[in-house]
Amino acid sequence: MTEHRPAASIEAVESGLAAQGYIASRQIATAVYLADQIEKPILVEGPAGVGKTELAKAIAAWRGLKMIRLQCYEGLDEAKALYEWKYAKQLLYTQILKDKLGEVLGGAATLHAALDQLHDFGDVFFSKEFVEPRPLLQALEQPAGCVLLIDEIDKSDAEFESLLLEMLSDFQVTIPELGTVAAVTAPIVILTSNSERDLGDALKRRCLHLHIGFPEQKLEERIVESRVPGISQTLRKQLVGFINEVRTLDLKKLPSVSETIDWARVLVLLQASELGHEMVKDTLNVLLKYESDIEATLPQVSTFVAKATRQNVFG
């Protein structure tokens, strides 16, 4: 296994990711740094839209590594995640086997011996040549290493986790017919979860556990600055301030970083330079996905806008 060079420091991680437009909190940067240092996967938990998936992409772009993504869903199995036999090719070869049957069985004295010989021959079909690698196996086979993103692991079935354990602790998988396949270069593994179900202890034990919540106001402003370059500083502060107020409400779905960015883009398109009641009311549907959430927020808009714009004067 050849090593790829780990990042020099936590600051180096921060600036490396920032160069890709990803603004990492110090905790995130520490996690990425440590994952490199002690070669452990990172399990990233947190609500939707806080940049879990993006983190993996940013690491890959920064390190110049290929990103291999395994999107999880209910029913995802070994054949889709790890490897599949090339059945068509196997079938084709069985035809050849048939043609050669005479030769193969020539020396067999009894029917029983013939069957045994055939049985040995069957193993030919289960060599590397007939294996179709899926994301997990592909990740192990990258000579330069890669970033392996196992996205939304909480959507897969609980049994699927046990398939990952060997991969996560030793960067290898065992294929019953072939033996153990170890990584050429240990991949950087990122698992994400929206916490729709509790993950198993065995899986968690093998990972660094990073929780990304909604970012602090200053950090979110920097994220907006990075993702929506045309926006004025005033508007940026005000809209992040407003969103932070909305997040104190008891809503079905609180606006996440992705909504902040979408909203900022819309406001820039509308050529806004400051937050105003009317404009906020008209664009609230960018921020909130449920009708009931919009209704709950509307009466608060004036207060929140006032707070967000006042805050700006002092902050």
Partner: protein, 463 residues
């Protein structure tokens, strides 16, 4: 520093964060990579490596703040060095100190050198040095072994001994005659030292004593009758049941062997293709058929049994990594299936709903069994373990033992868990002896310990 980390792991366990040996090794490797200089990064690092949930992060963060709020014993400063430093500090301070400190100041260098190191240090009033000396003394008397509040006095006096309190007392006695003003100062400093030591010990108890207190409480809880818990203990019991679930999961969820897929079965392939003259047109692949074992649970949720059923259902449904196909039914007057309710909700919410649907009635085992026969008897196969949890008290209604007999005949095992003690079985309206003849096992299940044993056996036979 290693020492410090080990003590921190212990404190973390006390705060309810599981730290396995493997995790502590990871944490140490991580700390080696980031160093100790930046407290914030150290905190993040420990939270990243040790905590596995948001709750654990919160608990561990609080524990970290408490732990690092007090000075840690430094490796370099052992006692002799501390004493030397003290002397140095005093002699440096003396010339100017005299005018500032007035009558209380030592009158000459000889006065000071006649004193023991502790007295010298106290008179120097160097808070940092005193704190470091306390930390060192605490570490050499293994203060982190403190477990109970009753040990506070013992550890305080050990630390004071280690610091040299005896010599200090002698010094103080001598000084009373020769220099009463200085003696008074020293006496005050000594009182302050005692306070500091007491604080250090109290804090250590908070950090390291929690685990033991926790263990003691858990042990008591484990043996308490589940049906008679007070309201505030119910939450604690839930936490205990979750812990038990975790233990069972760890014990039984070995990474499962994956079956060999796609191994060509030559014999079957040839047989299947006989019609085409042996051209392998249809292939037959070897597959291991895994019998699908099932657990079916019938829980009485009437009266005092409800609480036990609650814990049982919580336990069995938190094992889904190990036992993935459980079907659960709840009954009192009649019976309903509750599997989906339990899968989709928190246990508290699920139990609330179950109780509102079937709870609080007087129990009727006969009609509940009849409901089960209609609803799900066909799901009981020779691979099924059926568990009935209840006191078998059916208000003198027809017990329909015939249905239970059929369940016993169809299933692999029929286990009855009864929260009542054996001596009560068969008295009053208890149908237990009649039912027992059709069960593979009947066991008492009144405490968390018994519940753990029972479920552990069931899960073990499931494997």
């Amino acid at each position: 520093m290693r020492e410090n980390l080990h003590r921190f792991f212990r404190a973390a366990r006390g705060a309810g964060v599981r730290v396995s040996p493997a995790e502590s090794i990871d944490a140490m490797r991580a700390v080696a990579a980031i160093g100790f200089e930046d407290r914030g990064i150290l905190r993040d690092t420990l939270l990243l490596t040790l905590a596995k949930t948001q709750d654990e992060k919160k608990a561990l963060g609080a524990c970290f703040d408490l732990f690092f709020a007090r000075p840690q014993p430094s490796q370099a400063a052992n006692e002799n060095e501390a004493a030397e430093n003290a002397e140095q500090a005093v002699s440096e301070q003396s010339p100017s100190g005299q005018s500032e400190q007035g009558a209380g100041a030592p009158s000459s260098a000889e006065d000071m050198s006649a004193l023991g190191p502790l007295a010298q240090m106290l008179l120097s009033q160097d808070r940092n040095q005193i704190a470091a000396a306390i930390a060192n003394a605490a570490s050499s008397v293994n203060l982190s072994d403190i477990r109970f509040f009753t040990q506070r006095g013992l550890f305080s006096s050990r630390i004071l001994d280690e610091l040299g309190i005896r010599r200090l007392r002698d010094d103080l006695d001598d000084m009373l005659a020769s220099n009463p003003a200085l003696a008074e100062r020293l006496a005050m400093a000594t009182e302050r030292l005692r306070d500091d030591v007491r604080d250090t010990v109290s804090q250590a108890l908070l950090l390291y004593g929690r685990e033991e207190a926790e263990n003691l409480r858990a042990e008591i809880l484990r043996n308490a009758p589940m049906a008679r818990l007070e309201l505030r203990q119910v939450e604690q019991m839930r936490a205990l049941i979750r812990k038990i679930a975790r233990r069972l999961r760890e014990r039984y969820s070995k990474p499962r062997k994956r079956p060999r897929r796609g191994h060509l079965d030559v014999r079957r392939t040839i047989r299947r293709n006989a019609a085409w003259g042996g051209v392998p047109f249809l292939t037959a692949w070897k597959r291991k058929h895994r019998d699908k074992p099932r657990i079916v649970a019938l829980c009485d949720v009437s009266g005092s049994v409800a609480q036990v059923s609650d814990f049982f259902l919580l336990l069995i449904h938190s094992l889904h990594e190990v036992v993935d196909d459980v079907r659960s039914f709840a009954f009192s007057g009649h019976l309903i299936e509750v599997s989906d309710l339990l899968e989709a909700n928190t246990p508290e919410k699920a139990m609330g709903e179950i109780m509102s649907k079937v709870g609080f009635g007087s129990s009727d085992y006969g009609s509940s069994l009849a409901d089960f026969e209609k609803l799900a008897m066909s799901a009981v196969t020779p691979q099924t373990t059926v568990i009935v949890l209840g006191d078998a008290r059916s208000n003198n209604l027809d017990p329909r033992a015939d249905i239970l007999k059929r369940i016993g005949e169809r299933s692999k095992r029929l286990v009855w868990l009864n929260p009542e003690g054996r001596t009560a079985w068969g008295f009053g309206d208890s149908e237990m002896p009649r039912y027992a003849t059709f069960c593979s096992v009947v066991r008492q299940c009144a405490t968390a310990r018994q519940l753990e044993r029972a479920v552990s056996d069931i899960v073990a036979s499931y494997q």
